[in-house]
Symmetry: C2
Amino acid sequence: MTQNLDVCLTPALIPLYNVEDYIVVVIDIFRATSSICYGIENGAEAIIPVSEVEACAAYREKGFDHLLAAERNGEVVAGFDFGNSPFSYTKEKVSGKTVVLTTTNGTHALHLSRKAKKIVIGSFLNLTSLCNWLKTQNDSVLLVCAGWKNNFNLEDTLFAGAVVEQLKESGYTLDDPAMAANDLFQIGKNDISQYLSKTSHGERLKKLGIEKDIAFCLQVDITTAIPILDGEKLVKLV
Amino acid sequence: MTQNLDVCLTPALIPLYNVEDYIVVVIDIFRATSSICYGIENGAEAIIPVSEVEACAAYREKGFDHLLAAERNGEVVAGFDFGNSPFSYTKEKVSGKTVVLTTTNGTHALHLSRKAKKIVIGSFLNLTSLCNWLKTQNDSVLLVCAGWKNNFNLEDTLFAGAVVEQLKESGYTLDDPAMAANDLFQIGKNDISQYLSKTSHGERLKKLGIEKDIAFCLQVDITTAIPILDGEKLVKLV
């Protein structure tokens, strides 16, 4: 077996990988990929990730009956239905709907990974379901951390380490970032919330008054749906 | 005090920092910055880092009486005096001489950091001396890991974590990569050699038959000289 399990610590490093050789898992724990997992679990027909607020707004102008979610720097952009708080992705709000989503970091990572064999979405919410599915694939896996403004962040890396933890006994070859991510997970796993409270991004999100969102995004295995990119849309893997 | 202690995990991420706000420490543990520290300690008048083998060769054509050190992918380039094994930087070989050095990763990081307030060279060899000097400076510090082919590697990050360990009680604000590097150092510090033996680069270097070099580069505090960039040359900080 010569499958690799690699971790790309920031979107800026994606060009260093031949993404076409991998199944890519995009990770943006606070909060885009957590909300996407929750929304798809709750019956959203599709979630369309876009890079720019303007591209999101364009869906309204085109007359589509989509929910429009736009966030920049952790806040909902004025005039949009909502941002990427997971509490906006409940069954009541998204079931049967298509959501157009733009976020600071997550969408960026998704777009840079376009050439991958498959692109799926990971978060603590669907951790074990995701890992079990990855184990059934005969492909190398690249865990892409969305990070913060193209740089490393602890929460996405810690989650990558949690995935490595579940896959590492399955014969993959790990690269250095995968080893490091898994070591960080060993340090943080007993109290992830406490571990992450020291991070810059945690501080930033606290200032935005979204501690509830943070706690929500750190819940492990409360969903099983795996969002997968199909053309331009994220849909439920079946 | 508002000094930052930040870690740039790979040269690819240097553009994310305003390097002109920092004292930059360039780190390429296996083996460039270890050898530079050892060479400057042993009385080399200067070490001139260059990016390209051709630029290194040009010094011979210009008629300079310099030692020429050229390495690519861990091996000495044919026709050059030596590469970057620390054992080539003994007192007998380099005392009073100028060495022109090109390496795979270290020089790359140095050149990308040019605009920094000061650029100094770090390795386990001069760890405490370097940290003690940094503490006397009223400046933010950016630890730049040379990495491997623009990506993250464990040995450079672990060393960055060792520097963080000595500075973190001095009031700096740490970024996420600095926290992660320090956590990794906590895991590896009791047996750095054992910890690093699992890494991809360690494997690569073992194949090149340079285990002796690796062991040498992991010696802590056997030198006190701090190489600093002065124009185009690395010289001893006085």
